[in-house]
């Protein structure tokens, strides 16, 4: 829950920065966002767990306006295009998907597992009903059917 809020705060912040960088060369723009993201991730890893702690981290980073202003200042009037391209940051994007296992795969596996568990539970319930059905029927007739019921009902549970 709180982690969802945290992502929102950070996502909103990064969006605000990005909105102000449209005049920058694409590479510099992406690079700056990757740097800010890494900064925030590091802060989170080192203990900025709550929303207020994260907001403090963002405040220290500075307002989106201030960051954008610095970015334009440092970019200079017109960056030369013919410069030898620096080693591109393809190593940056993989940071997100670098874990190896795609998110969709995890989700799929999790849902399959959940269905299997649910199926097993329903199976047991059905068995319990079938097994337990006669007992209540007799129990209604003869009141002292109590010893029967415990025999029938507890059985499926231990086997699970």
């Amino acid at each position: 829950m709180s982690s969802i809020n945290k992502i929102d705060v950070v996502g909103e912040y990064l969006r605000e920065v990005d909105l102000r960088l449209s005049g920058l060369p694409l590479l510099q723009r992406h690079e700056l966002l990757a740097d800010l993201r890494a900064h925030i991730d590091t802060a989170r890893e080192q203990g900025a767990y709550t929303d207020s702690e994260m907001i403090e981290v963002l405040q220290r980073l500075g307002s989106p306006e201030a960051i954008a202003a610095a970015a334009y200042w440092e970019a200079g009037p017109q960056p030369p295009r013919s410069q030898p391209a620096p080693p591109p940051p393809p190593s940056a994007p993989p940071s997100g998907s670098g874990g190896g296992v795609p998110v969709w795969l995890i989700v799929t596996l999790a849902s399959v597992a959940a269905m299997l568990v649910l199926g097993a539970l329903f199976g047991f319930l059905a068995l319990a009903r079938v097994g337990g059905a006669p007992a209540p029927a007799t129990a209604v007739v003869d009141a002292p059917a109590v010893p029967d019921a415990p025999d029938v009902v507890p059985e499926p549970r231990p086997t699970e």
Partner: protein, 113 residues
């Protein structure tokens, strides 16, 4: 207040980048750490996020080099190192700064005893 902030900005321009170069002179440091150390220096009055564009420029002019590196437990880190060009720039700044500072101290009367 605005005048003080303006003065800090003016003094910072042209000097802060050499503080960065000196920081990575002996060891490679990752971006967030550079940004934090500078942020802790009160008199520099830097806003952390504005350091990243500076690092970007220092890399573009060839004074710094950087590489992303996986950290043992956590997000990848971008480590900065000083290039030969950066080292030369830092050395010439040191010479320049010493005489610059002495002159200003003499003219402004901040030289001390």
């Amino acid at each position: 207040m605005t005048d003080v902030a303006q003065l800090a900005t003016s003094l910072r321009r042209g000097t802060l980048e050499f503080c960065v170069l000196a920081m990575v002179e002996r060891e490679d440091i990752y971006g967030t750490e550079i940004v934090r150390r500078l942020g802790e220096e009160r008199s520099l009055a830097t806003t952390e996020g504005t350091i990243y564009p500076l690092l970007s420029r220092l890399r573009r002019v060839g004074w710094l080099d950087s590489k992303w590196s996986e950290s043992p437990a956590g997000p990848p880190r971008r480590y900065y190192s000083l290039t030969d060009g950066g080292r030369a720039a830092l050395e010439s700044f040191r010479t320049e700064w010493t005489s610059f500072r002495q002159t200003v101290d003499r003219l402004v009367g901040t030289g001390g005893a």
